[in-house]
């Protein structure tokens, strides 16, 4: 049966090529201009063959690397275009991250801020990608991407203002938790805690860029997310839209091995996030996320393709979350301390890159101390300033819910709170104490 069937097919479509109009007496598979199947160009095979890999022979997707552990260029690797000034800037930007992280992590422990998340171990992924982008590319982050904002010039004062939620916090006027940055000026969309929501949004941002004659072909949308967030439906929605509609959207997966306590091995059964790219028909690369030069090269090329094709491109950066998930987490409850110590020792992305710089004569030990001293001083200065500024005015609580005319319910509720504060603000100790934390101490409400 099957043989005959196949022979018919071959005769009909392979030998004769196009469909004939000759009247068939036996039922035949319809032939079609796409090939043998109604909506696909899939070649027909007589071999029953299952597959389970995007690489031939079931091999894992390789990881692109430029520098070995000693900061030496791998045989056959091509250095990205980089001059001394850029190379040094990247290093300085990497070095600053753990300095800020250590300070704010400890400050949270002292109760001065309510929450914090470090990026220990992911410095090369963040700075390498930031350096590869155009500073006006639209970034949609997850929450560990402060480094990208700093690269663009956000500044320590703005970081502190957001983390302290003081009146200089332009990210959200004190409304969001720490590390939920956002900046129109720096093309950094506001962080939202619900995971993966930014991913389909990025596809829309990319499309908007494409429709803007001033930005078309010059910018793209860039979306960062963890390998954990990539399990959400929103990840698939975003990949699907940006590949199909399509829209120039660059997907950067930070695969740091953990989503809180859940190891990547329990997050997916396939070959990481990169394996999914070809499923959406998009160019994909996996890169050593601890090798800043590899990240720089890979993201530059990914961005180039993204702009050229006007379509999604996926980069999976392989790294390791050295720190705890957040200040609410103690990771030694689910991973051995030794594993973390080993990781830190074997592959510190900053140390690896430093060796490269030194081998070029672009960096030396005395500069190292100077740099760290300078950053520490600047960070501490910003910290002291941020710590001592009050919260925004209390009335800001009701702002930015709607644009245009404010609905009656909000107007009335503001009046309701005003009346309460007038009545009790001077008498009720918990409110008295709390009001002092706000700029103007709530006077705009009370008077």
């Amino acid at each position: 049966m099957f043989r005959i069937f196949r022979t018919n097919l071959q005769v009909q479509t392979l030998r004769r090529g196009v469909a004939t109009s000759s009247i068939q007496t036996n039922p035949q598979l319809p032939s079609h201009s796409y090939g043998h199947l109604p909506t696909s160009q899939s070649p027909i095979t007589s071999t029953l063959h299952f597959f389970n890999s995007v690489m031939p022979d079931g091999k894992q997707i390789p990881t692109y690397r430029v520098l070995n552990g000693d900061g030496q260029v791998l045989d056959g690797a091509e250095l990205p275009e980089i001059d001394e000034a850029l190379a040094r800037k990247m290093y300085e930007q990497m070095v600053q991250l753990p300095i800020i992280d250590n300070l704010l992590y400890n400050v949270q422990r002292q109760g001065k801020i309510s929450f914090y998340m470090t990026a220990h171990g992911e410095e090369a992924t963040l700075i390498g990608s930031a350096a590869a982008l155009n500073n006006s590319d639209e970034v949609l982050g997850q929450y560990r991407e402060m480094g990208v904002l700093l690269w663009r010039g956000f500044g320590y004062d703005s970081v502190m203002a957001q983390c302290f939620g003081n009146y200089e916090d332009t990210s959200s006027k004190g409304k969001q938790m720490p590390v939920h940055f956002g900046s129109r000026k720096y093309h950094f969309h506001p962080i939202s805690s619900p995971l993966a929501t930014q991913i389909p949004q990025a596809a829309g941002v990319g499309y908007a860029i494409k429709r803007d004659p001033l930005r078309r072909g010059k910018n793209c949308a860039v979306v960062y997310f963890g390998e954990g967030a990539a399990s959400e439906g929103d990840f698939h929605a975003g990949m699907l839209l940006a590949s199909t509609v399509p829209s120039p959207t660059l997907f950067i997966a930070r695969n740091n091995g953990f989503a809180i306590s859940t190891p990547a091995s329990e997050q997916y059964h396939g070959d990481g996030i990169a394996a999914r790219g070809p499923g959406y028909g998009i160019d994909t690369v996996r890169v050593d996320g601890n090798d800043v030069l590899a990240v720089l090269s890979a993201v530059r090329e990914a961005r180039r393709r993204c702009l050229e094709q006007g379509r999604a491109v996926l980069v999976e950066a392989m790294t390791y979350r050295v720190g705890h998930h957040s200040t609410s987490d103690d990771s030694f409850a689910y991973r051995p301390r030794q594993e973390v110590e080993d990781r830190k020792r074997i592959d510190n992305p900053i140390a690896r890159y430093k060796k490269f710089l030194e081998s070029r004569g672009w960096w030396n030990e005395s500069e190292e101390e100077e740099l760290k001293d300078r950053i520490k001083k600047e960070v501490m200065k910003a910290f002291r300033r941020g710590e001592n500024l009050r919260r925004p005015e209390l009335k800001e609580m009701f702002s930015d819910v709607y644009g245009g005319e404010e609905p009656w319910n909000l107007k009335e509720q503001r009046e309701e709170l005003k009346a309460l504060l007038k009545k009790y603000g001077g008498d009720w100790e918990p409110w008295k104490k709390e009001l002092k934390k706000f700029k103007g101490e709530g006077k705009e409400f009370i008077e």
Binding site: G228, S261, Y424
Partner: protein, 429 residues
Amino acid sequence: MFNPHKLARLSPSRLSSLNGQCIRRLQSTVPSSGEAEPPPAGGHLPSIATSAFLRPTRDSALRLPGLRWIDNEIPGSISSSKEGAGDIAGRETRKMNMYQAVRDAMSIALMKDDTAVIFGEDVAFGGVFRCTMGLAEEFGRERVFNTPLTEQGIAGFGIGLASMGQTAIAEIQFADYIFPAFDQIVNEAAKHRFRSGGQFGVGSLTIRCPTMSVGHGGLYHSQSPEGFFMGAAGLKVVIPRSPIQAKGLLLASIRDPNPVIFMEPKILYRSSVEQVPIDDYELPLGKAETLIKGSDLTVLTWGTPIYHCESAIHMLSSPPSSLAHHIPASLRSAKIELIDLRTILPWDVETITESVKRTGRLVIVHEASRTAGVGAEISAEIQKRCFLKLNAPVRRVTGWDTPVPMQYEKFYIPDSLRILDAIVDTLQY
């Protein structure tokens, strides 16, 4: 009445085996490292440590109204505070906070029901709020397991399990992150029985999630989304106020023939502590509990604000000197009734109506925004049923109609003073 000497008369071997049991269970609830959870949430509620609603002794814990023992040996045996000491003789309690009580309930569910499984993000290592501590070790990874990070997947997976008659206990890490699962919950779980003409159903699905504010969570760690589920006929929504309540209500939710969203006020995980009966027991769903009897005004709430209401009622009768001039002397002897709604859907209309008909006044307190919050639904129904008995409009004390603003939370979430003010206002109407 409970006779303390009766326990002493138990043979020493029986006692030690009981203790042995509880020590073993306790050990697996002790955190291995002590701090794999969010920080103590910016301070515990000032009133909770001293709340009269928490039952700090074995005797008071065992005399909980509505408590129904589920003993395999004596099926259907019912014990209540009205019954004699015989019913509580030999019953043990253990000091637990709310996360330990939740864990205890799930441990019983796993022990007694071989089909029961627990799953969700990070549950295998104990969960970010420690509610599944040690359960994976005790019952195996086939029954207590991590899922990939997908709430819609978790809910859908649970629906599938439950539709096959197995017991699914799913955890959504925060109530704020239940929205990706909204379609599965509202369109699927709630309607499963209805759309199959009663052939199918997912009654053995329970979705647990931490809810409400801790004081500094902002937009996405402070929400109270119970109201969003209120229109989903077919679902039940339950919110406990304490460890004893959490255990009894959770066991009832797991065994209820309907899918239940079980929301645990996260500030109470550690700050509420009670002596919790170690045996299997249930508390009824769909039943509110009157915590304070009164005749002049009814305060209705659930979850965390229970304790703010308790303080407010206390302040009404004995105001601190700084507030005394705000509280007319004539109101201080007012008798305020306080009701814990406990089940939000379907809510106990009978208890609330009966109460408001007696008191003529109702103040509803919830953390969620006012517009279309649970209070709106209850107000409409109560105003219809009690119209001629009402002496004042139903008053709602709620979060404002904005997202939860982190730095402003103390002026956003109803506190005892705002509740007190609403009580005074409503009494004077």
